[in-house]
Amino acid sequence: MEELEKLRKAYVNHMVIGLIITIVVVVVLFVLYNATQFLFVAFIICFMIVLLTGGSKKKKYSTAYKKEIVTTTMQELFTDIVFDYDKGLPSSVIKETDMMRLGNRYSSNDWYSGKYKDVSFTSSDVSIEEVTTDSEGHTHTTVYFRGQWYIFNFNKNFKGKFQVCEKDFHYSKHGGLFDKSIEKVEVEDIDFNKQFRIYSTDAHSVFYVLTPHIIESIKKINEAIPGRLLLIFKDNSLHVGIYNGSDNFEPSIFHKIDVEKSKEKVRKEIEPITKFVEELRLDNNIFSSSAVQNNPQGE
């Protein structure tokens, strides 16, 4: 912990000193040259230099935090944990579902996999954006997804694929106007139909997988976990996208690390895994003739 605190202080000191130097430079420019028109530009340039030179220090601190706090907490809850913060979920994994728009800018990090109650899972932070430039040269960025993507081995074998998408999750993909292979399905639960949209290639699979218990569980999970939810059931896997705009497992820079509080924060961040396995009873494999081991590797 002392080492972690040293790294944090080194980064904070770098930033504070850098900021002081930046202010001094700006003041000197103003006093000596009265160059008011360049003050803002000078401030930005100096501050960027401070940020860039501090990048390696931040990375060292963040890496140490992920090794010491995040990995340890994961190991306390899960088995077979592999955590590679530099790797991410390959975009091809999401692309293969063909149920999420991929935009033209994809990034992913903090990849990890493991088992909870013998259910294999993989997760990663994912960011998907569409960057466009209009005729006047203005760049527009539309965020399709920013949050965590999870993949679980699902305990039922089913035909086709389908998605359960919260109504305010706007960028899932579910066929076009003339694509008759995917149809909208409504279940018998009126509340569920109000909260979620279901698109499927096989309506029977929807009713087979979404039993009344699963429907209730999804509603419960949706209430408990902040963010917009997208569930994709495909190839006997369950993909879960939680669009919450957050980047998991990042340490606090300005506060001294409190081990218990930090671990509690990590536990909260990995809570979706325990919630999905427990609520959807993914560990109950009476219907699965063979366990599917198809967890994608990070890249």
Binding site: K156, E186, A203, H204, T211
Partner: protein, 180 residues
């Protein structure tokens, strides 16, 4: 004169386009109900076959028991909703009888064959429930649409009437549980 014809064509189109839309919607709904109905047939036949296999396995262990005279009702495609309800009820009873009979034979309950069939029965039961729920969801949507205006007028002109639901017992409303 020309403008009168155009006005008439527009009026006819305004009147007929919604009629065509409603008729198409009814047709799509009926196709969905038929598909769900056919899914129930498939699930019922699968369940019947699995139960028959299960009964054969149990009989192998309980040759001298008179209770092995369990009748498994025959199922066929195209049964009415009432016939399906009766068949489901009868298959439920047979499942319970077979399970009770098997309880007297610990070696049977621990056999791999029996456990595989138990899993298979649980799975066919899940499929049957899924098919029943899908059928009822489609019937519910159809019945609601049939009483809404103006679909109710077109529905009665086409001679459509409300469809029967498939009932579910209290046990069936719960998720399948297994005691292996």
């Amino acid at each position: 004169m020309n403008s009168l014809i155009i006005v008439l064509v527009v009026i006819v189109a305004i009147l007929f386009i919604p009629v065509i839309v409603v008729i198409n919607k009814f047709n799509r709904m009926l196709v969905k109900i038929e598909e769900a109905d056919s899914d129930i047939d498939v699930a019922l036949i699968k369940r019947h076959d699995t139960l028959t296999k299960m009964l054969d396995v149990v009989k192998g262990y309980a040759k001298h028991e008179k209770d092995t005279l369990i009748e498994i009702v025959n199922v066929r495609k195209g049964m009415s909703a009432k016939e399906k309800n009766d068949a489901i009820k009868s298959l439920d009873e047979s499942t319970e009888k077979i399970r009770l009979l098997a309880e007297a034979y610990p070696e049977l309950r621990s056999s791999e064959n029996y456990n595989t069939l138990q899993k298979s029965i649980a799975d066919t039961e899940e499929h049957l429930q899924a098919a029943r729920r899908m059928y009822n969801a489609n019937v519910s949507a159809f019945n609601q649409y049939l009483v809404s205006f103006p679909a109710s007028i077109i529905g009665s002109m086409k001679g459509l009437s409300k469809k029967e639901f498939l009932e579910a017992s209290e046990e069936q409303k719960e998720d399948v549980k297994m005691d292996l």
